[in-house]
Amino acid sequence: MAFFRVESLVKYFGGLAAVNNVTFDVGQGEILGLIGPNGSGKTTIFNMITGYHRPTSGRVLFKAREIHRLPTFRICKLGIGRTFQVVKPLGRMTVLDNVIAAAYSRAGTTREAREHAQRTLEFCGMAPVRDQLAKSLPIAGRKRLEIARAMATRPDLLLLDETAAGLNPTELVAAIDLIRKIRDGGTTIIIIEHIMHVIMTISDRIHAINFGQTIAEGTPREVAADKAVIEAYLGKDYA
């Protein structure tokens, strides 16, 4: 039984098949890259995994348990954390308070939550800005706050939705380091990313979709050489 499995997942929005029969497994400790052109259904898959959308059909299995009918907060408690592509900082709270709110999901007391939040901020390199209001952070900070907040819920599986988008080269290196550090800490990761440099360097495996359907799966090298993938990204002439 796989650690995490998405099985024949389908999502219709009206008559549009946003996700059409996607299946993949993720092993414990693995980093799976999820790629595809804009609008290919990546974020919809994340939204189905975390309970924001109900799949039209298909199943999501986590630690041998069906989770696709559970509410979002319960999925978080089971050990799936996520970040949002369009960042959702709790604006009028400080960075520390953002993370404390998340840490309560695994803490009994305010003191435990506060301590765990402090450790998480240090782990994510955000301790220096912890007293700033979340809305005052620049985009790199907000993206990182998304990760810190998700990590504070102590996920076994972390879903990263374009956390590297909009970062400059220096910030990019830091983001890759952080993601590796999280994996080394024992957290399994599924990452959506458009920046090829990021996805190719950190993924163990890549699953490529287009128009809601799987077009390729394999190691980064295999997927980069795949005809369907090149066609999806660059057009028929290059395939």
Partner: protein, 337 residues
């Protein structure tokens, strides 16, 4: 510790107030002020902290008042027993409402609370056999003096503020504010937003209902158009919250004081200023102006709200630093405090 000093001083002043000021009129105003602190604190929990704006606080206020009044009318027991039950009666109305209506967000939820307000008012009016309908409920007051009412009101006000203060620094407070800031993000952090919105509403309904029981006991008379009043209760609760500062512990106290002061300022025709001016000069225009002002306290509220929203969007407490800088020309952070 520095921060808890001013409220403690204020509490001592409030405890001594009726012993020093013997005037019935000012004692009456202070009782109203304290009652509004309780209502404002309740509204502040659901709207200020949790971000679910309620336009229907009177539903809970009236439920509390009627719980006390009906117990007394039908069972012949003291309406003070209602104080034990009135808060819970309001919670009993609030929870099923919240369970259904918290599926709606933002303005839609606010409209639903408005509807609840109207439903409760009409129900109390129509069920004549049970509630007395438009005739209302009249009780003999328990005390002749205002002082016992004053201390009961003070105890309620202090308890409601203490309740908000404890909640604000605990898990509940973090969860409430998270829901206000971004409900979807809050869900992803393991927060059962539907459940915690109901918890917040239960606290809000409880305190508002308690204020209602106090009103029943103190005023001795209620009818549906008074205690389920949209503009005298529900809108006033919003004004108290906004003027004082949403999502701040002491905002409702400041807001209640300002609102009661403004209300009385207008109601008394600027403390009889224009009346006196008219009598002195014999110009009848001053007398009619005085008469207009007495009916025009709502205009005063309107102007006040415009000023607050334009210059102090976070309310008096929320923008206190700004006021200090602008008015007192002090430096931003609290030296010498």
């Amino acid at each position: 510790m520095k921060k808890s000093l001013p409220p403690l001083v204020l509490l001592v002043v409030l405890v001594l107030f009726p012993l020093v000021v013997r005037d019935n009129y000012y004692q009456h105003l202070m009782i109203l002020f304290l009652m509004w602190v309780v209502i404002g604190s309740g509204w502040n929990l659901i709207a200020g902290y949790t971000g679910q704006v309620s336009f229907g606080d009177a539903a809970f206020f009236g439920t509390g008042a009627y719980a006390a009044g009906l117990l007394s009318m039908h069972l012949g027991i003291s309406a003070w027993w209602g104080m034990a039950l009135g808060g819970f009666a309001a919670v009993a109305i609030g929870l099923p409402f919240g369970w259904i209506c918290f599926r709606m967000r933002g303005a839609y939820f606010a409209l639903a609370t408005l509807a609840l307000n109207e439903v409760m008012r009409n129900a109390a009016t129509i069920a004549e056999g049970f509630t007395g309908g438009m005739v209302g409920i009249l009780l003999m007051p328990t005390f002749v003096s205002k002082i016992p009412y004053y201390y009961i009101a003070l105890a309620l006000a202090a308890a409601s503020i203490a309740c908000v203060r404890i909640i604000a620094s605990a898990k509940l407070g973090y969860y409430f504010v998270s829901i206000r800031e971004d409900q979807d993000a809050a869900e992803s952090l393991g927060i059962d937003t539907h459940f915690y919105k109901m918890v917040s509403l239960a606290f809000a309904a409880f305190w508002t209902g308690m204020a209602g029981t106090l009103y029943m006991n103190y005023m001795g008379f209620i009818d549906p158009s008074v205690v389920f009043s949209l503009h005298d209760i529900s809108i006033m609760a919003i004004l108290v919250g906004i003027v004082g500062g949403v999502g701040t512990v002491y905002g409702p106290a400041v807001g209640a004081f300002v609102m009661i002061a403004v209300q009385e300022f207008f109601r008394s025709g600027f403390f009889g200023f224009f009346q006196g001016l008219g009598d002195m000069t014999g110009i009848s225009a001053f007398l009619s102006l005085s008469g207009l002002l007495k009916q025009g306290h709502v205009l005063g509220f309107g102007i006040l709200v415009i000023v607050v929203i334009l210059f102090l969007p976070n309310g008096i407490v929320g923008d206190w630093e700004k006021i200090r800088r602008k008015v007192f020309r002090l430096r931003p952070t609290g030296e010498g405090a």
